[in-house]
Structure formats: C-alpha cells, structure tokens
C-alpha cells in the first residue's frame, strides 16, 4: 500500500518539474526578441563596466605608478588596515552616515513635497515659471552657491545673522560650530537639489489616470483624501525605487561641497570619509588607499541596498530586482 503512494508522489513531483521546465522554456521563447533588443545593453555593461573592474585589485596592492597594475606588489589588506586603524575611523564613518541620514530624512521627501505642491497649482504661467526657477540653483556651479551660502551665514555681514539680531537674538558664527554643520549642509543640499529632484516626481504624476480623481471627487473626497489615496499610491513605485537607490548611496557623501563649507573646527561632525581621503591625497596621492576606501564604501553600500531591496520585496510590489 505505502509503495503505491510513494510512486504516486514521485509521479506528481516529476510532472510538476516538467511543467516548471516547460513554463521556463515558454518564457524563454517568448523573450527571444527582447534578447535582441537587450543585446547592446549587455555589451555596454560588459565592456565599460565589467572590463575595467580589474582595477579593483589595486586595493590589495601597493600601487607603484610606473610599474602599473601588474607589477605592483601585493599587500593584502594593508590598505584597509591603514584606514580602519586611523583614530578617526569611527568618527568618519559616523559623520558620513549621519550626514547621509539627515539627507535621507529631510532631503528625500523635499522634492516629493515640492512636486505635490506644484501639482496643486492651476496650470498657467505661475506654475511654469515656478518650476523653471526651482531648478536654477542646480545649474549655478557649486563653488558660487556655497560661496553665497557662506556669505549669508557670516557673523558680521550675513543676512541670517542680521535677521537674528533684528529679532533680538545674538549673532553666531554658524559655520564654525560643529553642532550646526549637518543641518546647514542638508539645507544647502535641499536648496540646490529640490527643484531638480522634483522633476522625476512630476513626470511620475502624469501617469496617474485622471479618471481616478474624478471618481474620488464623486465619492466626496477632498484634496487631502485624493492625495492620500490616489496621488501617493500613484507615484509609490517611483518613490520606492528612488528610496532604495538613495539608501544604497548612504556612504557616498561627496567631498566637493563639504570642502567648500567646512572649517577645521567643525571636523568632528563635518569630516567624512571622502574629505579625509581627499586631504590625504593632497600631499601625495595614494591610489591604492583611495581605491581601498572606495571598495569599502561600495561593499557597505551594496549591503545596504541589498537589505533595502529585500525589505521592499517583502512589503511592496516594487523592488529593484
């Protein structure tokens, strides 16, 4: 009796396996034209992204400029040790992470909110002009914008301090105080990036079917309800993908703007991994070292994005892969 049952199970298993294989084969056949379309993309990634990856080995070598990649001696993890054993390592990590995190909490929603606000405007010249003006700071070079920002915050002649004094407060040298750096940096990031960042969400908003809005209005929903039930879900895909990618970039805070903004007294909150590597490279550019640190950043960033993607997969329909 039991034997018969086993055989039956075996048969069912075999049949299921067959079905799965057939299904996969069917999908493969259906995709054949897509493969044709995808071919140049594959070529691109192989040639320009994977081929140069051999350069990563330099993180494990002691790069001698003239000997090149091959003949430079292997040193294993020495470069990484040099980085991790710096007394400032934890501070740099912490600052990088915190600055990114502030950017995530405040800088990520800002373009979304701007897009929503712009969305509420009636179409017309004001809307068009506001949109255009909002992304102007993106085009003025960082050097000039930071210069202006620094001027605003000057304790002696800056606009902000003038206002504070008028309101009865005390003038403060904001840029030299570590406590304020993160906030100021985030504000600067929002100032330069909110307009440009909102474009993506504005484009996503156009994908929402106007009939859904009409249906909601008929049901008696006000603007708030419409936003909550239609607009946000409508652009949810985009938001989630942008968020995942942002999380992946958590450790990559660029040095250019920080260098223009920080002072030595603010190192304890402003000094991030990239600025440290930059200062170290100023005296004698150490290619191996910066590659090693870059590799460290990449690995951590990848772990983050893997985790973020896994969470997104579990709880929503959208995910990176």
């Amino acid at each position: 009796m039991p034997r018969k049952k086993e055989k039956k199970n075996e048969n069912i298993d075999k049949q299921l396996a067959n079905l799965r294989r057939q299904e996969r084969w069917r999908r493969f056949k259906k995709s054949k034209y897509l493969y044709l379309m995808f071919l140049p993309v594959i070529l691109y990634y192989l040639i320009f992204c994977y081929a140069p990856m051999f350069g990563i080995v330099i993180a494990f070598k002691d790069y001698n400029a003239f000997k090149g990649f091959a003949a430079s001696p292997w040193v294993g993890f020495k470069q990484f040790q040099s980085f991790f054993s710096s007394p400032y390592f934890w501070r740099l990590l912490r600052n990088t992470f915190l600055i990114s995190f502030y950017g995530l909490i405040f800088g990520f929603p800002a373009p979304i909110i701007l897009a929503l606000l712009l969305n509420e405007l009636k179409d017309g010249w004001f809307k068009k002009i506001t949109q255009t003006i909002s992304y102007l700071p993106h085009f003025v070079s960082a050097v000039i914008i930071v210069g202006m920002f620094v001027n605003f915050l000057s304790p002696s002649t800056g606009l902000i301090n003038n206002i504070i004094e008028m309101l009865g407060g005390e003038r403060k040298y904001f840029l030299n105080d570590p406590k304020y750096f993160r906030s100021l940096y985030t504000i600067l990031g929002i100032w330069t990036g909110v307009g440009w960042g909102s474009i993506i969400y504005l484009a996503a908003l156009t994908n929402i079917d106007p009939e859904l809005y009409e249906a909601c209005i008929i049901d008696g929903g006000g603007r708030l309800r419409q936003t909550w039930h239609i607009t946000l879900p409508g652009i949810a895909n985009t938001i989630i993908i942008m968020l995942i990618m942002r999380i992946g970039n958590l450790l990559s805070v660029g040095y250019e703007r920080i260098i223009l903004m920080y002072t030595p007294a603010t190192y304890e909150t402003a000094d991030v991994i990239s600025t440290y590597v930059y200062r170290r490279g100023l005296v004698d550019a150490d290619y191996s070292f910066s590659t090693a640190v870059g590799l460290f950043n990449s690995v951590v960033g990848f772990i983050f994005i893997y985790a973020a993607n896994a969470v997104a997969r579990r709880y929503s329909e959208t995910s990176l892969w």
Partner: protein, 295 residues
C-alpha cells in the same frame, strides 16, 4: 460645502505664498551671477553688487565672445549633447523595456548584475585604459560611450514602463501586435513624459560635463564649454587648496581673469538649457497621454 471651499482656498493661497518664497530663494544666486556679469570688475571686487548691476557694462560678454575658442566650444557642446542624448535614450530604452516585461527570462539576474555596477567600479585609470584599447581616445565616442547608460536612469525608466497598465498591452497583443509594435505604438507614446525627463537628465549631464573631455580629448578645438568654464572659475580655488598643503606656498601667477568674465561665462553656459525646458514642460500636463491613448 462652503467650509471645504474656504479651507481649499486658504490652502491655495498658502501654497502660492510658499512657492513665492521658494522662487525668491532659488532665484537669488542666479540673479547675482547675472548682475555680476553685467557689472564693472571693480564693483564686483569691492562687493557692491547684489542683484542689481553696479557700473553696468557689457565688457565681460564682449571679452568672452571675442575669443573664437568659446564659439568653438559652444558648438562642440551642442554636438556632444545631441549625439550623446540620442545614444543614451536609445540604449536606455533598449535596456528598460525588456527589464520591464514580466515574462523576460533572466530578468532578476540581469537587474542584479546591472545594479552591481552601480557600486563596484574599477576606477578612473582602468576605464581609461579600456577606452584607449578600443581606440576611442581623442574622439567624440570617448565622451559618449563610456557613460552611455546611467543605471539609475534606466531603472527609473523601467519603473515608468512597469507603471503602464497591463490592460492596454494585453489589448494590443490580442490584436496581434509583436513586442516591437507594443513598444512602438503603446509604451513609448504613453511614456513620453518619462522619456522626456530622462532625456533631459542625460542632456543636462552632457551639457555640464567636463571631466570626460579633460581626460579623453587631446586637442583644444574639441573641448566643450564647461571645461573652459571650469578652468576660469576654479583657478582661484585651486590656488587656495594647493597652498594649504603643509610647507608649500604656491605663488599665484597674476591671476587677473576678471571676476566679471567668470560670471559671464557661467551665464553663457546656463542660458541655453533654460531655454530648452519650456519645450519639455508641455509634456508634463497630467494624464494627457493616458487619456488620449484610451480613447
């Protein structure tokens, strides 16, 4: 009814006020650069320019346009941008469309390997060596091919493609359309806003780019505008940073590029992009596309 209308109106006024403030804050740097480019050098140095030019003159612009190199670079930048964006969009759509189809066999694997490249890269010198090996050095292809697909943009576009309702696609397939026809007749028209957006990102990227030109181009007559601009704007900065090294003092050459020329070159580089955006804006009108296709 009246209550809702009231709160709605309050909100609208509030909205306009907030956006007005935003406008002022965003406009200020730009106005300053514009005013400074129209002022006299002495005024700029003395700090007398805010948003109104002081000592109005067009000398800076004259100086900028007098040099042939600026015109040549302008022409180059336009060429690189058009060619580059075209290639970008073509490849990005070729990548995003298959990845957005649920039945694409191997989709997750492909996406995974592509996402890996967002993080791990060989660095500047290996990429340079690869480009050289391919014989692209000192050609326009070295500027256009290495960054041809921005993975971020491709994923965004894939997301947009995925957002198009399946019903439309299925209807077309029932009518006997092939993959290509689905793409051509349905997906692309519907995604026009997103394609315009991504195209805008790429175009601006090309317009603002200078690094690729710096390392891949040998002859000055091929230089794009931003490279020239960066030279001029940064010369002071470079000196400052270098002279902070312990034990070295970089003696500046008489860096007498006037400040006003700096600003004039910035304006010259920015204004064309500003003129392009209004053309794209009309695609951002809500729901226009979906409605028309449905009909």
């Amino acid at each position: 009814m009246i209550k809702k209308s009231m709160s709605r109106r309050v909100f609208e006024v509030f909205n306009i006020i907030i956006l007005m403030c935003l406008n002022i804050v965003m406009l200020y740097p730009f106005l300053y650069v514009f005013a400074a480019s129209l002022s006299s050098n002495a005024s700029v140095l003395a700090g007398r320019v805010s948003i109104i030019p002081d000592g109005f003159n067009l000398e800076a612009y004259k100086a900028v346009f007098k040099y042939k190199q600026v015109w040549i670079s302008y022409r180059n930048t336009i060429y690189y941008t058009v060619l580059g964006t075209f290639i970008n969009l073509f490849l990005t759509v070729c990548g995003a469309y298959p990845l957005s189809r649920k039945y694409f066999y191997g989709k997750s694997v492909f996406t995974f390997f592509i996402a890996v490249t967002m993080f791990f890269s060989g660095g500047l010198i290996p990429t340079f060596l690869v480009v050289r090996k391919l014989g692209l050095y000192n050609t326009v292809w070295a500027l256009v091919l290495p960054g041809a697909i921005s993975t971020t943009n491709m994923i965004i576009m894939r997301t947009f493609f995925q957002g198009i309702p399946d019903a439309l696609e299925e209807a077309a397939i029932i009518d006997g359309a092939t993959d290509f026809q689905v793409l051509y007749k349905i997906i692309l028209p519907l995604s026009l806003p997103s394609i315009m957006t991504i195209g805008l990102f790429y175009a601006v990227g090309h317009w603002n780019s200078w690094f690729g030109a710096m390392i891949y181009l040998r002859e000055m007559k091929k230089y794009p505008l931003q490279l020239i601009l960066r030279q001029i704007v940064l010369q002071n900065q470079v000196n400052e940073l270098l002279s902070q090294q312990a034990g070295t003092t970089v003696e500046e050459t008489q860096s007498l590029i006037s400040e006003t020329i700096k600003f004039a070159v910035i304006m010259v580089a920015v204004i064309p992009i500003l003129c392009v955006y209004p053309f794209i804006q009309k695609y951002f009108v809500k729901g226009v596309m979906i409605g028309s296709i449905k009909g």
